[in-house]
């Protein structure tokens, strides 16, 4: 993470964001933009995607935490992110347990090897 900001951003439901804000990650940058987004019933996919892309382009964010069920809504944006930083971590939520089969990072890792490659 050297050379990149140290903030952790969160995109999640109210409980997720509240919990991590309790943990002390809440910040506003010089433009008064927060490093979190609470996804509610009326939050549109465009809003989620825009916020995700903004977090990707900020140079003060090193890690993005996102509930996996929300990640599924913007899977194309996650899959398009090929850089190591910021790191994107999919996390469970109260109603949606974590499913390793859906995780972008782990799917990429599984695709690393084929029988040909290991010969």
């Amino acid at each position: 993470m050297a050379g990149r900001g140290e903030l952790i951003a969160v995109i999640g439901d109210e409980d997720t964001v509240t919990g991590f804000l309790l943990g002390g990650i809440g910040e506003l940058n010089k433009n008064r933009h927060p490093n979190f987004l609470v996804v509610e019933k009326d939050t549109t996919i465009n809003e989620i995607e825009d916020t995700f892309r903004q977090f990707l382009h900020r140079d003060d964010i090193g890690i993005i935490l996102i509930n996996q069920y929300i990640a599924e809504m913007v899977r194309h944006a996650l899959d398009a992110h090929q850089h190591s930083i910021p790191a994107v971590l999919e996390i469970p939520s109260k109603e949606h347990p974590y499913d390793a089969a859906k995780d972008s990072i782990l799917r990429r890792a599984r695709g690393m090897f084929t029988a040909e490659d290991l010969r």
């Binding site: 952790i8 409980d15 997720t16 919990g19 991590f20 939520s93 974590y98 990072i105």
Partner: protein, 170 residues
């Protein structure tokens, strides 16, 4: 580099990758348990925890005002009386009426538990501890993911070199 040396390096890299993946899986399980089952949601639910405002957008605004006061840019009066409860911990630290902004940048960050008054439920403290542990795990997992990404790129590079040296095995 000769093909046998490449193969040795490839095997070594592969083993390291598999170890990293195993470690990633382990840390993931711990993080998920921490956040989802043990401390995070359970404690928040048990404490019937609610943010200090009716909607989270207000909490976001409250957080903005908290940061503004902490930075000494505005006096509490300019921020607004409605947020008095939320800002109480910041206000208590000020000495008398604030005529000129105090430089706040060297102050230690406020504990978010202070948003909810002096006496907070034990379950809320537990939830905070769980989420803080989760943050450390998240940082560890992010580092592991970066290492795995790096290893993956190295692996591809070595495989390409090997195919050039031994086209018959491709």
């Amino acid at each position: 580099m000769e093909a046998p040396d490449l193969r040795v390096e490839l095997d070594s890299l592969l083993l390291q990758l598999l170890r990293d993946l195993e470690e990633l899986e382990g840390k993931r399980a711990v993080l998920n348990a921490r956040v989802e089952e043990v401390g995070g949601w359970g404690s928040l639910r048990d404490g019937q925890f609610h943010p200090p405002f009716s909607s989270f957008s207000e909490t976001q605004e409250g957080l903005q005002k908290f940061e503004v006061v902490r930075a000494g840019i505005h006096t509490p009066e300019e921020v607004g009386p409605g947020e008095a409860a939320f800002l109480s911990s910041a206000l208590r630290r000020r000495k008398g009426p604030a005529k000129t902004p105090e430089p706040q940048s060297s102050e230690a960050p406020q504990d978010p538990l202070n948003w909810f008054g002096i006496l907070v439920p034990h379950s809320l403290r537990q939830a905070q501890a769980s989420f803080r542990d989760g943050l450390q795990l998240a940082a560890d997992i992010a580092s592991l993911q970066n290492r795995i990404d790096w290893g993956r790129n190295q692996l591809r590079g070595l495989q390409e070199k090997l195919k050039k040296l031994e086209p018959g095995t491709a």
